[in-house]
Symmetry: C2
Subunit: 333 residues, 2 copies
Amino acid sequence: MVTLKDIAVKAGVSKATVSNVLNGNLTKVSPCKAKEIQDLIAEYGYVPNQTARSLSNKSSRIISLIVYADCDRNVLADPYISLFAGELLRQLQKRGYFGMIRATNDYADILQNLNAWNVQGVIFFGTLDKDIREIQDRAGIPFVFTDSYSSVRRINNVGIDDYRGGMIAAEHLAERGHRRLALFAPGVETGSDLDKQRIAGFAFALSKYGVALPDSHVMLAEPRRADVMARSLLDLPGVTGVFVTADIAAIELMQALKRLGVGVPGDMSVVGFDDIPMARLVTPGLTTIRQDITQKARIAVEILERRLDAPSCPNESAILDVALVSRESVGYV
Amino acid sequence: MVTLKDIAVKAGVSKATVSNVLNGNLTKVSPCKAKEIQDLIAEYGYVPNQTARSLSNKSSRIISLIVYADCDRNVLADPYISLFAGELLRQLQKRGYFGMIRATNDYADILQNLNAWNVQGVIFFGTLDKDIREIQDRAGIPFVFTDSYSSVRRINNVGIDDYRGGMIAAEHLAERGHRRLALFAPGVETGSDLDKQRIAGFAFALSKYGVALPDSHVMLAEPRRADVMARSLLDLPGVTGVFVTADIAAIELMQALKRLGVGVPGDMSVVGFDDIPMARLVTPGLTTIRQDITQKARIAVEILERRLDAPSCPNESAILDVALVSRESVGYV
DNA sequence: CTGTTAGCGCATTCAT
DNA sequence: ATGAATGCGCTAACAG
């Protein structure tokens, strides 16, 4: 393994000079020497050791992608997370950063990780509470939260208009004549504020049509329990439509409904949320509230990078829009 | 940020002693001192700096997960890859390693990455050629390949019985009376040997039923082109079934077929490969050849870890079995 | 059992 | 414009 020192001796210069050309401090080195050194670097395929660089100036270029979840789960099995994380990774790699994904719900583990690797920035998925803020402060590095509704203090956040998403779902259903509706929010069990927003928006829009959303019609079950969900849904008299706050759960629900002989959209209309790629591949195609996951990732990285370059940059927040994607899972009554 | 030195002075001992308790060299330190030091560590929330540790003894605990693909693609958008990578990450994290995902098809980039981070091991996804071997040799660290068919030299590999998978698909179709079949291998364009195996197995099993697979029935189109695929398929006279070597492509194909008014399995039977979670969620449920992605990931990590512990361990190879999962996409003729 | 010393590879003063 | 020296935080000999 060839080191900076090696190419320094080969070039007959000091390590400092090589270091300078490496870091683009071309003002401090004569053009001819610089050229010569760059050639040597290319010739020997020298690549600077990040761990050493990181030790020496605390610039690891590592960005931690923390998924707040049980650490023993395959978090990338969730289509939304994998799409989002994949795009984040791509954006980071393109900019010369190294993304490190970590699934955990243990604050000590997070802090440990950040310290261990001199992590320079964090993009946080999932719910947020005071503890994570504390970590943010202790860590002294930029954090970008996603889908955060906490307002304890100003933070960097990129999210979507969840409330409006809920409204759009309700309006779509209402306009097609549905008057007795239910709602399935699989994320609430994790304390998800975003589901609460979607629920609130949904209920509000419904009220404009004079339709109520009884508490008993709001189901906060756990994800994977599509079967019990479907049964509960059928127990609700006269319900013709359901809003599910995540596509993956909506799709599971449709599947469960089908097993029970309930037709979608014939007997039951379903509206999802996210517009994951799978939504257009199932039958019937899932009508859903689309969010632009790719753009969200891009913006998250942009916000982070701005703070990496200028640490004292004021916090900023980006709220992306959502839109209805009408496919076949909603019928008319 | 508290360092090893800090807690050394607080404990009134030398750095070496602290280092020893940290690394479990308890034989070299008195129990009482050890206890005392561990308490200090806990009290101050001291966490060893990996970059320093890595510099000093070249043990970074970083494992590189290299996805051989265009570096400008969101590789985690592929359900198979994200499921596999997610499980790999989980297994690595559980064992105290740090997985670093990197999408690239540039050998220089790979080598650079390995050197930069003192990467200790690599799990490689995707096609393999001599260049990557060269990297393996140059890097001097264990590599585990997945789904590799190269036999230039002994390597560590974890794969599945692709040939048999192809056979099973053919048998299933043949037993249901299909005699004119086609095949769609979306991965071949990337030079995938695995698709070649699946094709060979499929053709062989078919031959036992006295049915041929004309070259014109073997379509090596690019992925995402489901529409043109569907049309080509319909241009083949009398074909009643198709084997698609990846579920995601099979599902796209079914979708395209539906748009063209072709019923599955009524007018066309489809068999996929992988059994990704989506396969059971589409309609009709996709009949497919199942591979255990989770187990594959687990074994890959086990093989790697064995070599991390004993670098001179002989190469080993694991071939997992596959099985038919019969759902609704194959009919009788 | 414990402390001292010497690097790992690099960036960063401060000299020249 | 360039070089010598120092230190980042830790581990690994070796001494005591």
